[in-house]
């Protein structure tokens, strides 16, 4: 019986995931066609939710059956409580929340918790607690957004705060001679570069929403450049790239000038070339990207192990707990995608990629609808940073691009990462809710409005 279930679920899981992904894109297409998300049918969301819970059941059944461990059953119950809370509570509190983003977020997080619990149960429990905390914090964000109106005035404060936070980590790691990009306070480890992403997006949006003249762009370039340089010096190449790409695209959207994209590409290539010449650790990354097999014992070890995992898993995976993802160093952070491919299959992995892309496209669709330039740029910037991070981590893990060691949002282990991404998603939710209320202000006749305030609708723009 056990064998039947685990063997069949190897195929049912990716099949269900594919259906779920299709639903996401159907939703997206519907949204694009209508240009206004409010009249999407909700049936499809319910289908998505049902699939998600069924998938969770299957995956945890596999885990429990193969391991014979009751702890997975308990963990399953806890995870379901969280997912149910998120899926059910958010639309009740914020009636106009975007359910596509919400569902995909839950789907990715549920999968992440499941996969992490397979790699390391203790880490999964920690992750669960952080996820729960993040949700608690994030739930307030749309409401806070509707209360605070000075966000777009703090321009330079954001920039300076970002530099200070990143600089602190750099100094701290200098002092301790480590290559750490995080520091620990009272048992909790922070990775400030994650949180600075949010501040950075606010900085860019605030600096450029009114005035996108070349002088203004130049001024933001100085601040953004400082971020990137500090990150490169901290050896956090992945984050440096994310900040850089985020900057280039936000400038592009703000100025509507394609030359900035070109300048970004040229400047980026130049900077990459310079970094290649200057920094040994950058050279190592490129070397092991081009030929990991010659360095399989040392520098190329993790990437080759990642490739083994994906290659061994193949389309349908080896089955949960039947592979050996822990052979990959830092699997729970940098290579979680490889472990997903190994045990759940590449087909499932591709669905994960597509879901992330669906989230990104939904964000882009929203940003096109937002009239307030500041919030538009915030949504746009978050979308860019989110999707580019996914490209970096997955592309690195499959040896398409050099490894940069960033996390896969929502799936990787790492409190800072998951909290930051969740805050980003709820920021977008908040802005989306604003957008809808603005759009439908004149029919704000609904009796029971959400806490975001039936009438807190001072138009900022």
């Amino acid at each position: 019986m056990r064998e039947y279930i685990t063997e069949l679920s190897r195929y049912i899981i990716p099949a269900l995931m594919a259906v779920y992904t299709l639903c996401s894109f159907a939703c997206l297409a519907q949204g694009v066609a209508q240009k206004q998300g409010s009249s999407r049918s909700t049936g499809i969301y319910t289908v998505q939710n049902i699939i998600m819970f069924f998938l969770q059941l299957l995956m945890f059944t596999d885990l429990a059956l193969v391991s014979g461990d009751m702890e997975y059953v308990f963990f399953y119950v806890f995870v379901q409580v969280f997912l149910l809370a998120a899926v059910a509570m958010v639309p009740v509190i914020y009636e106009k929340a975007n359910r596509l983003l919400l569902n995909n977020m839950c789907m990715l997080m549920g999968t992440g918790l499941c996969v992490i619990s397979r790699v390391s149960f203790n880490q999964a429990v920690r992750q669960y607690i952080i996820v729960l905390m993040s949700l608690a914090v994030s739930l307030f964000i749309p409401w806070i957004l509707s209360q605070i109106h000075f966000l777009k005035k703090l321009t330079w404060l954001y920039g300076i705060a970002g530099i200070v936070m990143l600089g602190m980590v750099l100094l701290y790691s200098e002092v301790t001679y480590g290559a750490e990009i995080s520091f620990t306070i009272g048992g909790l480890t922070f990775q400030p570069s994650e949180f600075v992403k949010i501040v950075f997006v606010f900085f860019l949006a605030a600096a450029l929403w009114e005035d996108a003249s070349i002088v203004r762009v130049g001024m933001t370039a100085v601040i953004a450049g400082a971020h990137v340089v500090i990150l490169v010096m901290s050896k956090d190449l992945g984050s440096a790239l994310i900040f850089f790409v985020g900057y280039v695209f936000v400038v592009f959207a703000a100025t509507r000038n394609y030359l900035y994209l070109l300048a970004g590409a040229v400047g980026g290539s130049g900077a990459a070339w310079g970094a290649l010449k200057l920094f040994g650790h950058v050279r190592d990354r490129v070397l092991t990207w081009r030929d990991p097999w010659s360095y399989i014992d040392k520098e190329g070890y993790s990437i080759t192990q990642s490739l083994f995992a994906i290659g061994s898993g193949n389309w349908f995976g080896m089955g949960l707990l039947k592979g050996n993802p822990t052979a990959i160093p830092f699997v729970e952070k940098d290579f979680i995608f490889s472990s997903v491919c190994e045990e759940l299959g590449v087909a499932f992995g591709i669905c994960i990629i597509l879901l992330s892309v669906a989230c990104f496209l939904e964000m882009m669709r929203m940003s096109a609808l937002i009239r307030d330039r500041f919030y538009q740029l915030v949504v746009y910037g978050i979308g860019i940073m989110y999707i580019f991070q996914i490209f970096l981590t997955i592309g690195g893990g499959i040896k398409l691009i050099p490894l940069t060691g960033v996390t896969l949002p929502f799936i990787s282990y790492g409190g800072s990462s998951v909290m930051t991404t969740m805050i980003m998603f709820f920021l977008i939710q908040g802005i989306y809710i604003r957008l809808q209320q603005e759009g439908g202000r004149h029919n704000a006749r609904k009796g029971k409005e959400t806490p975001s305030g039936s009438a807190r609708e001072k138009d900022q723009s």
Binding site: R2, E3, Y4, E7, L8, Q34, Q36, S38, S39, S41, T42, T46, A88, P91, V92, E95, F249, F252, A253, R256, T304, Q305, L307, F308, A309, I310, G311, S312, N314, K322, G323, N324, A327, C341, V346, G349, I350, I353, V357, F360, L361, M364, S367, A368, R371, Q376, Y380, I387, F388, F391, I394, G395, I398, K399, L400, G439, G440, H442, N443, K446
Partner: protein, 494 residues
């Protein structure tokens, strides 16, 4: 909750849309930029997914077979290693269980298939390495898996059927006898490897016990598969290559060639003797080849265009990777870089620094027998699950043409003349027309040490083989081997 939304949502759109329109011109002004962004990242992710799919579709086997991949052990902890069969279904390697359910790998034919089938415990070689991926995976039915799971036993790994022929292998092995040497027999039309023997050998059943002594003994070459990894001067068999180049340079006049052999040829400081100093007298092109006249071929060699010779060598896969998926040594031949006249003479009769593996010579001969087209040599015919369902079948595949059909025909004629009137007369008078080329290459200043070669084929559908062995203590034994896929034919050739 969803119901509530259902009720409310439809109420909004009409008004909203109209409301939206009035402002859209102003606010959605940078929609084109957003669309460009979407397209950019869309392409990026299309590339990502494309690469991932390509990797997944093409590299599973390679990834699992890498010795750094710990998943091999995982698979082996769940599946018994599968069985390796000969073409007729004889067991060449199987996993046996003793009373305590301890696994051991057994090779019923012992030494006979030592290099061809290989071993799987001290690293992996031969078919054990080549088909490792299939042997450690299982495609048994789900119900079997479930039953095995309940019974607490492992699943049977998939079985690998090779093209190897036990009788042919036995004949080849007998012929090598106590001598160091190698024989490979392939089917010309498909590239199937029918027999592959390398001496000295070892008993793979004993590999665990003898391993340390083999590794300690630096002179020991028992683990070396001479067929694929041996590198030897080709001697007169290389005249096939020289002849091909001469034909290419003189397509219309090569048959008008004539040379007066005095038993030696000299040019500058170099001097080439004919085998045993034989004086061949007046020879034409065909008789030079048939009688293996060194002087005549040295004469041909020094007049060849070196650049064009180099190209022919490359086409024949010298200094290049061979199209096979098992380990091998690359053959070496040089006629261009800083080559003295003496070296060129030596090279054109297969002496000097030219090195070739028996497998490579076999491939060139096969191409000649097959109208110039080389079929990629392969040993694994198909993979079956424990119930005989074919999991994967390997089809013959052509590498391409090494030479034109016409050139192959001419070379075939030359090789037939070797058997009919030349150095391979021992093989004349068989029921099927045989063709081949003998060779004897000195590898030491001591003229007593030399490699004996024979490469050839029987009928169009037959396969070539070749043989080398040392001459020892002055006893000069010369043996010829023609391979055929039919055992009866082969026997009569020895």
């Amino acid at each position: 909750m969803p119901e509530k939304e259902k009720k409310r949502r439809p109420a909004a759109p009409g008004k909203k849309t109209s409301h939206k329109k009035s402002r859209s011109a102003r606010y959605s002004a940078n929609r084109p930029e957003i669309i460009v962004t979407c397209c950019f990242f869309g392409l990026l992710f299309a590339a990502l997914i494309g690469y991932l799919s390509y990797f997944t579709a093409t590299s599973e086997e390679e990834m699992i077979n890498n010795s750094y991949n710990s998943r091999q052990e995982i698979l082996l902890s769940r599946n018994y290693r599968g069985t390796i069969y000969s073409r007729d279904g004889d067991v060449l390697a199987e996993t046996r269980l003793d009373a305590d359910q301890e696994e051991s790998r057994a090779y019923p034919y012992g030494k006979l298939f030592a290099h061809a089938v290989g071993y799987s415990t001290k690293g992996r070689t031969g078919i054990e390495a080549l088909a490792n991926y299939y042997l450690i995976n299982t495609n048994t039915s789900l119900s079997n898996k479930a039953a095995n799971d309940i019974a607490g036993i492992k699943n049977p790994g998939d079985s690998v059927y090779t093209a190897l022929d036990v009788e042919l292998q036995q004949v080849a092995d007998d012929q090598l006898n106590i001598y160091k040497g190698a024989i490979v027999v392939t089917e010309v039309s498909t590239g199937k490897i029918l027999a592959m023997v390398s001496h000295p050998g070892f008993d793979p059943n004993e590999i665990g016990a003898i391993w340390d002594s083999i590794v300690e003994d630096e002179d020991s070459s028992v683990l070396l598969n001479r067929v694929t990894q041996g590198q030897y001067p080709p001697g007169s068999t290389f005249k096939i290559v020289t002849a091909l180049e001469y034909i290419r340079e003189n397509p219309d006049t090569y048959n008008d060639y004539s040379y007066q052999c005095n038993g030696y040829f000299s040019s500058g400081t170099g001097r080439i003797n004919c085998y045993h100093g034989t004086n061949h007298g007046q020879v034409g092109f065909e008789s030079s080849f048939a009688k293996s006249c060194n002087s005549s071929f040295a004469n041909i060699g020094v007049n060849l265009e070196q650049q064009s010779f180099e190209e022919t060598l490359e086409e024949l896969l010298f200094n290049r990777p061979l199209p096979v998926d098992f380990p091998y040594s690359e053959s070496k031949a040089n006629v261009v870089d800083r080559v003295s006249m003496n070296e060129l003479m030596q090279t054109s009769i297969g002496q000097g620094r030219t090195q070739i593996s028996p497998l490579h010579l076999n491939m060139i001969t096969s191409a000649i027998a097959n109208g110039g087209i080389l079929m990629k040599p392969y040993a694994v015919d198909r993979v079956e699950n424990d119930e005989g369902r074919i999991v994967k079948a390997f089809e013959p595949s052509a590498y391409g043409s090494l030479m034109t059909g016409e050139e192959a025909g001419i070379l075939k004629g030359l090789m037939e003349s070797v058997v009919e009137e030349g150095t391979g007369r021992k093989l004349s008078g068989l029921s099927h027309t045989a063709a081949g080329k003998t060779g004897s290459a000195e590898y030491n200043d001591d003229k007593e040490d030399s490699h004996a070669w024979f490469t050839g084929f029987v009928r169009a559908c037959a396969g070539p083989g070749n043989l080398r062995h040392d001459h020892r203590g002055g006893s000069r034994q010369r043996r010829g081997l023609c391979g055929s896929h039919r055992q009866a034919d082969l026997r009569c050739l020895f």
